[in-house]
């Protein structure tokens, strides 16, 4: 109990302390997750929409793959990305291992199936008659797709929220491919792990509270998007 109270107090202290090391960690967390989320959304939303609207035969198989991908253990993704980016791996020449780029790649792999899978489900929930109606009103193919996405926007935003929650709080992959290097690849989750291991419980707790606050703020922002008409 003592630990908890001390952690809370320290968290408040830390937030207002303007400690540059802390802000660096927060900033990196947001940068890595933000980039990964942006790219996942840019690929995942069109992919999900296309899958949701098309009547291709392989859709059942692709859906199963995507839904499996939604439950990928981050640590397995980390291992895979590690092997790909390690010096002897196929993408070793990039020199990305133990850099934020590697962490972004890993988080994209985690977030993409979430965005695509949930977008697909949302698009499938839109009244099929809507497409015929907007085409009849003179929509081009692209405008038709856009109309369906707009109708499915509650679900699309939910997909982004789910993906964001999945990767901002993820530790296994960023730890493996980033290496938790101070001032370089240390993010909130890896810092929490480190501080817990070294017995700095109140600091770990403080970081955890900051992580929760960030996630809360980001979700509020995303939900405002959903509410807009």
């Amino acid at each position: 109990m003592d630990e908890l109270v001390r952690g809370l107090l320290q968290a408040i202290q830390l937030i207002f302390s303007a400690d540059p090391a802390l802000y660096e960690i927060i900033f990196l967390s947001l940068r890595v997750t933000g980039f990964a989320l942006l790219i996942s959304a840019l690929i995942g939303i069109p992919t999900g929409a296309t899958l949701g609207l098309s009547r291709i035969r392989a859709r059942g198989f692709i859906t199963a793959l995507l839904y499996t991908g939604m439950g990928l253990p981050p640590v397995v993704v980390g291992l895979f990305v590690y092997l790909m980016l390690s010096r002897s791996g196929p993408f070793g020449v990039l020199g990305w291992l133990f850099t934020p780029s590697a962490m972004i790649v890993a988080q994209i792999i985690i977030a993409f199936p979430l965005v695509a899978g949930l977008t697909m489900a949302a698009v499938q929930g839109v009244d099929p008659a809507l497409r015929v109606q907007v085409r009849s009103l003179g929509a081009t193919r692209a405008q038709e797709l856009w109309a369906v996405l707009r109708e499915a926007r509650l679900g699309v935003v939910a997909a982004i929220v789910a993906a964001f929650g999945g990767i901002i709080s993820e530790v296994g992959a960023v730890m493996l491919v980033g290496g938790n290097i101070e001032g370089k690849t240390r993010v909130l989750t890896t810092a929490i792990v480190l501080n817990t291991r070294t017995g700095e419980f109140s600091l770990a707790l403080a970081l955890g509270i900051i992580l929760l606050l960030l996630a809360f703020a980001a979700n509020v922002a995303l939900l405002r998007l959903q509410g807009k008409n």
């Binding site: 008659a129 015929v132 085409r135 003179g138 707009r150 109708e151």
Partner: protein, 257 residues
């Protein structure tokens, strides 16, 4: 066979009345999963006329409307729209001259005003008061900012009609537009449609199973049964002197189907 010949002869006789044609259909067939649902030997629709197609549900009326709106490609045969053969690469400008109001209005999750403005937005046009004018015409000015999906069935259908009319189509296709609506809304919608046809010369193809509605609105009426057009005639002739016994049975409400 006599039916086809008779049908052709009648159509030819009517050409003078129809004036410029907007649609010419020849040997049109539509198949779904190898089942022929539409088989129209010949049909012509004039620019600016109000043509009604009656018949029981499942006769192929809605299929024909989808083809007239270029929403599907015909399995066989030809539709000529204003001297253009309808195929997959119809220019978007041509496609945008025709629109449909369906039996069940599908409105966007947005305000009434945004729904009515939708067709203009698709064309990159500004509303410039046209939307509000149209809302007043369908009696929905007071509900302009209401969420469209909260309206009653009749109000929703009037939104759909306003949304179709505001883009000033050359052809307005109506697919059972007032089925399941109350008499007040039916009257309102019919009056707007009639006015659109008379004062703006919009060609209207009305599909209905309600012969009374066809009689109230249309100048020319066709009966459709099992995917085929049985008879086409002037409204008066169609009701008072039908040439086909099936037409007689249908207009008198005696047809069993």
């Amino acid at each position: 066979m006599w039916r086809c010949c008779g049908c052709k002869a009648r159509t030819r006789k009517q050409k003078g009345k129809v004036g410029t044609l907007i649609y010419r259909i020849k040997r049109l067939q539509q198949e779904y999963e190898r089942r022929v649902v539409l088989d129209v030997e010949e049909l012509e629709i004039g620019a600016g006329e109000m043509f009604a197609l009656v018949g029981p549900s499942g006769a192929g009326k809605s299929t024909l409307l989808r083809l007239l709106n270029f929403l599907e490609a015909p399995t066989r045969g030809q539709i000529v729209y204003q001297d253009q053969v309808v195929n997959g690469n119809l220019p978007i400008e041509t496609r945008r001259q025709v629109t449909t109001v369906f039996q069940r209005p599908v409105l966007l999750r947005a305000s009434v005003r945004a729904n009515v403005a939708y067709g203009l937005a698709l064309r990159g046009q500004r509303a410039n008061g046209r939307v509000d004018e149209m809302l007043a015409r369908v009696g929905l000015a007071a509900l302009a900012d209401a969420p469209a999906r909260r309206l009653s069935g009749g109000e929703m259908q009037r939104v759909a009609l306003a949304r179709a009319l505001v883009i000033e189509p050359r052809v307005l296709l109506l697919d059972e537009p007032t089925a399941n609506l109350d008499p007040y809304n039916v009257g309102l919608i019919e009056e707007i449609v009639r006015e659109q046809n008379r004062t703006r010369g919009t060609a209207i193809v009305l599909v209905t199973h309600n012969v009374f509605q066809a009689r109230r609105l249309a100048q020319r009426i066709g009966l459709m049964l099992n995917g085929r057009i049985v008879e086409v005639g002037d409204a008066r002739q169609f009701f008072d002197a039908p040439k086909d016994p099936r037409t007689k049975a249908f207009v008198q409400g005696e047809m069993v189907y």
